[in-house]
């Protein structure tokens, strides 16, 4: 029999069980709620391995290759829309490439964002670089590269936006991120200070086979550029020309590194297409991957020769070239037909542009048909993009040297300038110390008789190659010979034979270029700086420098308006739209990009650039 008392005991037991259970529950509750992320690593718990530092450094390089930076934005939106090219598509009429943009422009925001991401990632490396136990030399490489990259991103920021917020640590919290713009001068101070420190830490270029890593040569060359920008408009710190000259000279004088120009201007760019390195000339490049599906660029597609053919490699060809640039090349300058494509594609066939079409060609430096990596992906290319070439260093030296010497061209400045020009004129194609000439002209000694049609002119011998010419006949006689290709590598006069055309008796004599006709000499001060300015365009067009060069020389507006008037006067009606960017340009605001509205809204301390 169960008594009343027993029941009570049972209830007590129940109560105890409950009480114990509750205490146990509360204790285990907080443990139950303490979860550990499975999808990310605690920053305080890692960075004890060199490999983690390496990977963080990879991430700091990554912004260089992003669409918003060198995959296409700088080439097709921010930089080439100076006097060299324009956005060659009627499907867009607004954006930074048309100098028609608001502070909400998504591309401007994207570039701004990507650069600051790079800075944040470099900061992450710098904050943790001392943590792993590792070889000190390798640690120095990592630290130096991170310092340099951070400085380089600030350099891109300051040259596009002027005063910008300067952050030297990773952001700690979602709160309190309002930060003022730092005056450009101080940004330049930080950039140069970091780069100079990096120069001591990073590896020398000798012994390194690639061009993607930051090396001492890369740092020095870029330092020269940074000082040139600082010395020019708008900051006009002319004392910095001295530093520019110093660093450029350091590259030139570095016999261990042994920098030299590639004898062939064409080959510099063919190398990019074929994924070959020549870091004697091409000192620092943005690396785009050859294999896999990501980390490709659009070099050759967005900026390239328009093509819908897969075997050539499809290319959007968003940039058209200007008449102004075309005209900038003189006879005998072999660089023209590399920088500006002499042909377009009809399917897989190359069709030469009419000689009269001097505008609306395509930039020809990056040609997809020269790519060797297969399969050729639609639009995505493996071609690297140069950030520092030796010819740039030579020209920077010449310019800085001229400025340092009270705007007087010195012999050293001429040497550097003419070194670049001689390569451009094909004088180095047969190797050092060898003669390499082109066909300069063809003299008509005798026009012959009986020609009813233009005869075929063949140019052979003389050690050269590739020279072609056409004849014009009038009254049975050859009255004009036009050189269609000056050829290259001639060491002596070639033989000219005239066949066909129904006539006979014509005698033609070739004239070769002279060893020094590529050289400039005896220029006055104004002519010399003007020559440097033109030379930089001829040598470095479409490599993302022209707009910034023109800004620092105070020439951007003048040059753009020149192109605009030419288009308005000479282009046929259906292509008048290409003048949009030149017409839109307003000096009062367009030398700087707008500070993105996103940041203005969220950072109460930011101010906007004038005119936006």
């Amino acid at each position: 029999m169960v008594s009343l008392l027993n029941f009570k005991k049972m209830e007590k037991v129940k109560i105890y069980i409950v009480a114990i259970a509750i205490v146990g529950l509360l204790a285990s509750c907080s443990k139950f709620l303490d979860t550990t992320p499975l999808d990310k690593m605690d920053p305080d718990a890692i960075f004890d391995k060199e490999s983690q530092l390496d990977a963080a450094l990879v991430a700091a390089y990554d912004p260089l290759g992003r669409g918003a930076v060198y995959a296409y934005t700088i080439q097709t939106r921010l930089a080439t829309e100076s006097d060299e090219g324009f956005f060659y598509s009627s499907s867009r009429t607004t954006g930074p490439q048309f100098y028609d943009l608001s502070s909400s422009d998504p591309e401007v925001l994207s570039t701004w964002t990507t650069l600051y991401q790079g800075i944040s990632r470099a900061n992450l490396v710098l904050e943790n670089v001392d943590r792993p136990v590792m070889d000190e030399t390798r640690r120095n490489y990592i630290k130096g590269e991170a310092l340099f990259l951070r400085a380089y991103y600030y350099f891109l920021l300051v040259s596009n936006w002027g005063d910008v917020p300067l952050l030297l640590h990773t952001a700690e919290s979602v709160e309190g991120n309002a930060i003022e713009r730092t005056p450009s001068d101080l940004v330049y101070e930080q950039i140069t200070q970091d780069m100079i420190q990096a120069e001591e830490l990073v590896r020398p270029i000798q012994g390194y086979d690639g061009a993607g890593r930051v090396t001492k040569s890369a740092v020095r060359g870029v330092l020269a550029r940074v000082y040139l920008y600082w010395a020019g408009y708008p900051l006009m710190k002319i004392e910095k020309y001295q530093d520019a000259r110093f660093w450029a000279k350091k590259v030139i004088d570095d016999t261990e590194a042994g920098h030299r120009l590639n004898p062939s201007y064409d080959e510099v760019f063919i190398n990019y297409a074929k994924d070959k390195y020549d870091n004697k000339e091409s000192i620092w490049e943005v690396e785009f991957a050859v294999t896999g599906i990501y980390e490709h660029g659009q070099v050759g597609s967005w900026i390239g020769i328009r093509s819908t053919n897969e075997s050539i490699g499809t290319a959007y060809g968003f940039i058209g070239t200007t008449h102004t640039l075309f005209d900038r090349y003189k006879v005998g300058d072999l660089r023209r037909d590399r920088a500006i494509s002499p042909f377009y594609y009809d399917g897989a066939t190359q069709v030469l542009f009419a000689e009269t079409q001097t505008s609306r060609r395509f930039p020809g430096k990056w040609r997809r048909e020269e790519e060797t990596a297969l399969p050729k992906l639609n639009q995505n290319t493996p071609q690297n993009y140069p950030l520092l070439r030796y010819s740039d260093v030579l020209l920077m030296f010449a310019e800085a040297d001229y400025q340092v010497n009270n705007q007087t061209p010195t012999a050293a400045a001429y040497t550097a300038l003419n070194e670049v020009r001689r390569r451009g004129y094909g004088k180095k194609l047969n190797g050092p110390g060898q003669i390499s000439e082109t066909l300069k002209s063809i003299t008509i000694n005798d026009g012959g008789t009986g020609y009813t049609a233009a005869p075929v002119i063949s140019i052979t011998g003389g050690g050269g190659e590739g020279a072609t010419a056409t004849a014009t006949v009038e009254g049975g006689e050859i009255i004009l010979v036009t050189i269609t290709n000056p050829g290259r590598k001639f060491i002596s006069l070639p033989t000219i034979t005239v066949t066909g055309g129904g006539g006979s008796g014509a005698v033609l004599t070739p004239v070769l270029s002279l060893p020094d006709d590529a050289d400039l000499k005896d220029l006055n001060s104004a002519e010399f700086i003007s020559a440097i300015q033109e030379e930089r365009s001829r040598e470095l067009c479409f490599e993302g420098f022209r707009k910034y060069d023109l800004i620092r020389w105070g020439l951007l507006e003048i040059k753009l308006k020149e192109v605009g008037s030419w288009i308005t006067a000479n282009e046929n009606a259906s292509y008048k739209y290409v003048s949009l960017s030149f017409d839109n340009f307003d000096k009062s605001r367009h030398t700087l990009l707008p500070i993105p509205q996103n940041d203005i809204s969220l950072n109460g301390l930011l101010t906007q650039n004038p005119g936006y």
């Binding site: 029999m1 169960v2 049972m10 109560i15 069980i17 409950v18 009480a19 259970a21 509750i22 139950f32 709620l33 979860t35 992320p37 499975l38 999808d39 990310k40 605690d42 890692i46 990977a55 990879v58 991430a59 990554d62 260089l64 009627s90 867009r92 009429t93 607004t94 954006g95 028609d100 608001s102 909400s104 600051y116 800075i119 944040s120 990632r121 992450l124 952050l167 919290s173 979602v174 690639g210 993607g212 390195y277 690396e287 991957a289 294999t291 896999g292 599906i293 990501y294 980390e295 819908t308 897969e310 399969p375 992906l377 639609n378 493996p382 003048s579 993105p596 996103n598 969220l602 109460g604």
Partner: protein, 1156 residues
């Protein structure tokens, strides 16, 4: 007279002093473990021993109860009249004991369900030989549909005064006078039943719930409540009506059924879930979907496809804070509580239904005819037109009059079959109830190669182990296969990649007369303008999602003391999804001919899984002190955990595409993904209801949630709510107003939360990634970068919604008219916002508690029984909701931000939506359309050469390129140039009101219901018109809508559509394509015919009906697109965008339902 004691008895025989009960209550309010169950140790021994002198019957019964745990029910007054007894009982059974005790007394007893009923002995009626009336007794048992006894049911002989009331076990006995007598069973909250006695001696009755009545039981969080006792705002959906809609999931039938529940389909793609928003969206960047509680299992990411419509027993929508606060941190978006059908006591029943039908596109767009197309081509691309259609092929424009045209819509759209089968077996006895059901839903899409097929099975078992201990479980399984490339989006951001772009745009004629219909590629198209046949492409595409759901919920409940019940439940829920896609060389995306395809022939497989478990322990105590004081208290503790992961492999440039998925390994790896995450939640909850004088009802609830998503200091959130209801009908001033059958005023206020952020957004963390941070050195395979992918915000905490609600429930004319009004205002503070950051931080967005959003509105529900006759009845259910949404504040200084949609890269720099402080979360944003430029805007400098007057504003193009007939936009700042300074708010996607109205008619064996649903005052952005009404991307060979025939020409100078090529700057959104999206549609029509009894009995069916139903039958709208129920880029910030939407189908089905 017999007195009904059920409530009173609950306390009476608990033989424990009140103080002790209170102590137990206090302790148990804290709660609990499974361990409790072990204390269940009640003796079943029925051996009774009592030795006592001069004890009252009550004492005797008390002792028996102690020894047997049997309850006693009796009339106190009656028992008190009986003299005390002397007892000496030694180990007797219950029957023998009772017999001994009651011997010689005017009392009888009966035992049912462990309850002993004592009553006055009915003297046997002497049969009167002089009367022809044969008086005899009928016995039986009254239960509800689930087999629960219904004590207190009034049983009357129709037309006579004889009546009785069923006992605690539901059993009854009544005397009838003949076979012709009819018994009427009535019980509040249940439908009356009349049964002819005939020769039956035993009549068991199952009472059906009167779902319209005030006593309808409403399932709320952690409990149920009679509708009349509700203090909060809870809407219930008429699931019987919803079953009539031939749709895949209940959400598609829910639109317009419950006031304040806005259900919208993004489009008509089979297998896609609808969006449900309750009382306006609180969140801007986070999900606004409600919390789902299915059979007690709370789920934030519930997919409606896991459940068959036919397995749903009830859907309650908890709307105000006093109803939702019991779900605390997850209640702010409202809660949808779903109970599934369980077994019922009684004879097993088989429910079967089968429907077969067909679906078709409601409309197709009128495209230009061949003649119109060539005429247009000749205007816009004269050179191409000459080459492809005219001179070059030796034809004149006139030759295209009446030529055979190709309209790919005819090949893309199809009439597609739909089949739905359901079968269920349900039954049980008083201790065991079971239900087994299965369903098959098989739908082909109205666009080729799209379909949805789903199998479901469900099993539930409820077992009473003793009268105190009950257990049960439900297990549900579903396999859902959704096949077909999404028509409204694709992996690329080019407008041309969308199926309907290529369908509408495909040329209707060619100059050479070649038939394009069977070719993959239009041979005269090339490059970026390449036209790939969408029908052939779709037929070759594989885009397959397979979902497998397995849900198991089980519970044990134990009645510790009278009225005090412990319920321990647990469940697991798992969903796995396999996503597979493959694009071979005959598809748009996979063909090497497509110049934007850099992946070659490609495919991939991604497996995702989500698993969760929950344990809930609640203790409920109900106390009926007397009719003036009734209270119940519920307290509980729950734990929950959710894990999710995904693993995928995708490959490009697959060489042997014919091997499909087994060929992936041969391709180039594209992306290998693996993710893994989890979160946990622990909660304490409690609720108390107190009813005073049957007039004043108080509810207070409280929940404390601890979530692993927040750091320890911010982990716990507290969510209190209170409500008061005043049942005015019970006041003297209304008691005698017959017209008003019920009147209740409700007031509620409370706080609810939202925790929908990522599991670890609180923490800084580093990840390795290739896509975002890889870099290749020396032309090698790219290295993965190590980045801080999020800054982490350790200060994250709950988002809190403060909601007040005033409601009025009114019943008129015997509740034939029921009106519910609710006014609410909710303010969501500390918004969990994926907030923009200054990009200088190196980060784009992080979760922050920033900003505030307000929603306020009015909801009206009106249910009327218009006609109720024997053969005919007509009911109307109407609801309407008005909601106004407003942003109170945003991040720091932000006064507005723009939101863009991925649609076409040419539009990527335009944002068609703006969110502004003091305005709704989303408004359309763009240029104000001002018609076209006319000749009067130009100077004619030479004949036919028009130059825009310098006083006239440009449209964003250079002035020299603007010609008469070009599109014109308004220059707001007056600088004569239309640019980003001239962007303005151009429309509002939010409706002014939305709702539904259902009319149900019954006539003899026929039933008809007609359900209309509407949305009024919302605007849509018809992006299709940007492309197909004026060729906004300027693509050659692209056909246009027939409406574009009415474009500006010198002969047709209008302000409607701009001239050929006069589209203005690319990528501009303008008010031209903002349209009124209001509509009302006959959403569901259902006609059924119940076969006559004669046929039923032949096939031994208890019910057999033939039905015809239609879905989306008629739509009244001014919207020019395919369908006004559309939102192809749906989010709180980007609603109402229409581009290449999968059209919503019109469906007809015939069906049969049977019950055996």
């Amino acid at each position: 007279m017999y007195k009904f004691f059920i409530a009173k008895n609950t306390g009476r025989y608990s033989h424990y002093p009140i103080a002790k009960i209170l102590l137990i209550m206090k302790l148990t309010l804290f709660l609990l473990t499974v361990g409790f169950m072990q204390s269940y140790a009640v003796s079943f021994a029925q051996q009774i021993s009592i030795k006592a002198n001069n004890i009252s019957l009550e004492q005797a019964f008390g002792e028996i109860k102690k020894q047997t745990s049997y309850d006693f029910v009796y009339d106190e007054a009656l028992i008190k009249t009986i003299e005390p007894v002397n007892l000496n009982i030694q180990k007797l059974g219950l029957d023998a004991t009772l017999k001994q005790i009651l011997q010689g007394k005017a009392l009888d007893y009966s035992i049912t369900d462990r309850i002993v009923t004592i009553r006055r002995r009915v003297p046997r009626t002497e049969s009167s030989s002089s009367s022809s009336i044969q008086r005899r007794t009928v016995t039986g048992k009254v239960t509800d549909e689930k087999g629960n006894p219904l004590p207190g049911t009034l049983i009357q002989v129709k037309g006579e005064s004889t009546k009785t009331v069923s006992e605690v076990g539901g059993s009854y006995m009544i005397t009838v006078s003949g076979t012709e007598d009819v018994l009427v069973y009535s019980f509040i909250g249940f439908q009356n039943q009349e049964i002819k006695v005939g020769n039956q001696k035993t009549i068991d009755v199952k009472m059906a719930v009167d779902e319209k009545g005030l006593d309808q039981v409403v399932v709320i969080g952690y409990g149920t409540v009679a509708k009349k006792d509700l203090t909060g705002s809870v809407g219930t959906a008429d699931v019987k009506e919803m079953e009539k809609a031939p749709v895949a999931n209940f959400d598609q039938a829910l639109a317009g059924r419950v006031a304040g529940v806005q259900v919208s389909n993004n489009d008509g793609q089979p297998g896609h879930n609808a969006n449900i928003v309750i009382r306006g969206g609180n969140s801007l960047t986070q999900s606004t979907a409600p919390l789902y509680v299915v059979d007690g299992f709370p789920m934030e990411d519930f997919s409606s496809s896991a459940l068959s419509n036919f397995d749903i027993a009830s859907i309650s929508v908890l709307k105000d804070a006093s109803a939702t606060a019991i779900y605390g941190s997850r209640g702010a978006n409202g809660v949808i509580v779903i109970e599934t059908k369980k077994g019922q006591t009684g004879k097993p029943t088989i429910d079967f239904s089968a429907s077969f039908g067909s679906q078709g596109a409601i409309k197709k767009m009128d495209m230009m005819s061949g003649y119109e197309f060539v005429k247009y081509q000749n205007e816009i691309y004269p050179t191409l037109a000459e080459r492809y259609y005219l001179g070059n092929v030796g034809k004149q424009l006139e030759d295209y009059q009446g030529v055979k045209e190709l309209d790919l819509q005819d090949r893309l759209f199809r009439n597609a079959p739909i089949n739905i089968y359901n079968i269920a077996l349900r039954g049980g006895n008083t201790s065991t109830r079971y239900a087994v059901s299965g369903s098959l839903f098989d739908q082909q899409g109205i666009i080729v190669n799209s379909s949805n097929k789903r199998y479901q099975g469900r099993l539930s078992l409820d077992q009473s182990i003793s009268d105190k201990l009950k257990a049960g479980f439900v297990v549900g399984m579903a396999k859902n296969t959704v096949d077909g490339t999404p028509v409204n989006s694709g992996p690329t951001s080019s407008a041309t990649s969308y199926t309907l772009y290529r369908t509408w745009g495909f040329r209707p004629v060619t100059g050479t007369g070649i038939d394009l219909g069977d070719l993959l590629v239009d041979p005269e198209s090339e490059g970026l303008n390449l036209m790939i046949n969408p029908v052939i492409s779709l037929e070759n595409e594989v885009y397959l999602n397979t979902y497998s759901d397995l849900n198991l919920n089980a519970f044990l409940s134990y009645e510790i003391l009278k009225g005090l019940t412990l319920k321990v439940s647990g469940g697991t829920n798992s969903r796995t999804n396999q996503y597979k896609y493959f694009y071979n060389s005959d598809t748009y995306r996979g063909t090497p001919l497509n110049p934007s395809n850099f992946r070659g022939q490609y495919g991939g497989v991604v497996n995702r899984s989500m698993k969760g478990w929950v344990n809930e322990n609640t203790l409920t105590y109900k106390k009926y002190i007397n009719k003036d004081h009734v209270f119940d208290v519920m307290g509980g503790f729950t734990l929950q955990r959710r894990d999710s992961d995904s693993f995928g492999y995708e490959a490009d440039n697959i060489p042997n595409e014919e091997m499909l998925f087994s060929s992936l390994g041969g391709g180039t790896p594209y992306r290998n993904t693996s993710t893994q995450t989890y979160h946990t939640l622990a909660s304490f909850l409690g609720r108390a209801n107190y009813t005073l004088l049957t007039k004043y009802m108080f509810t207070a609830s409280f929940r404390a949630d601890g979530s692993s998503k927040f750091v320890a200091q911010n982990r716990w959130g507290y969510f209190p709510a209170g409500a008061f209801a005043w049942r005015m009908k019970n006041e003297n001033f209304l008691k005698n107003v017959d017209m008003i059958s019920d009147a209740k005023l409700r007031l509620g206020y409370g706080v609810t939360g939202n925790n929908r952020v990522g599991d670890f957004d609180r923490a800084r963390g580093l990840i390795y990634t290739d896509w975002e941070a890889g870099y290749s050195f020396e032309n090698g395979i790219p290295f993965k970068g190590l980045i801080m992918n999020s800054m982490g915000n350790s200060s994250l905490r709950w988002e809190s919604t403060f909601q007040s609600n005033i409601g009025l429930d009114l019943g008129l004319v015997d509740d034939r008219v029921q009106l519910t009004l609710d006014l609410y205002k909710k303010n969501t503070k500390d918004l969990l916002l994926l907030a923009n950051l200054p990009r200088t931080t190196g980060f784009i967005r992080e979760y922050r508690n920033i900003g505030e959003v307000e929603n306020k509105g009015l909801e009206i529900t009106l249910n009327t029984v218009n006609v109720k006759k024997n053969n005919f009845s007509w009911e109307t259910n109407f609801n309407i909701a008005f909601n106004r949404n407003k942003i109170i504040s945003l991040v720091e200084n932000e006064t507005n931000f723009l939101s863009s949609v991925t649609f076409d890269s040419n539009f990527s720099s335009s944002s068609p939506y703006i969110a502004m402080v003091d305005r709704p979360a989303a408004l359309y944003y763009g240029y104000i359309w001002d018609g076209n430029y006319q000749y009067s805007d130009f100077d004619e400098v030479s004949p036919g050469n028009y130059v825009l007057k310098s006083t006239v504003t440009t449209n964003g193009n250079t002035a020299s390129s603007i010609q008469p007939g070009d599109i014109k936009y308004r220059d707001i700042n007056g600088d004569k140039v239309v640019d980003s300074q001239d962007l303005a708010v151009i429309g509002n996607p939010q409706p002014l009101h939305s709702g539904g109205i259902n009319n149900i008619f019954h006539y003899k064996s026929f039933s008809l219901s007609m359900f209309f649903q509407w949305s009024y005052g919302n605007e849509l952005l018809n992006a299709n018109r940007l492309i197909f009404e004026g060729n906004g991307l300027f693509r050659p060979l692209l056909n246009q809508y027939a409406t574009y025939e009415n474009r500006w020409t010198p002969e047709n100078q209008n302000n409607e559509l701009f001239r050929s090529g006069g589209h203005g700057p690319f990528g501009a959104y303008s008010s031209r394509v903002i349209e009124d999206g209001s509509y009302i549609r006959l959403k569901t029509l259902s006609l059924s015919y119940r076969l006559p009894e004669a046929i039923l009995s032949k096939v031994r069916a208890s019910d057999l009906a033939l039905t015809f139903s239609g879905q989306n039958l008629i739509t009244w709208t001014n919207y020019s697109g395919m369908d006004p129920e559309v939102s192809t880029r749906h989010s709180a910030l980007t609603p109402g965008f229409d581009y290449s939407a999968y059209p919503i189908a019109r469906t007809f089905v015939f069906g049969i339902t049977a019950k055996f």
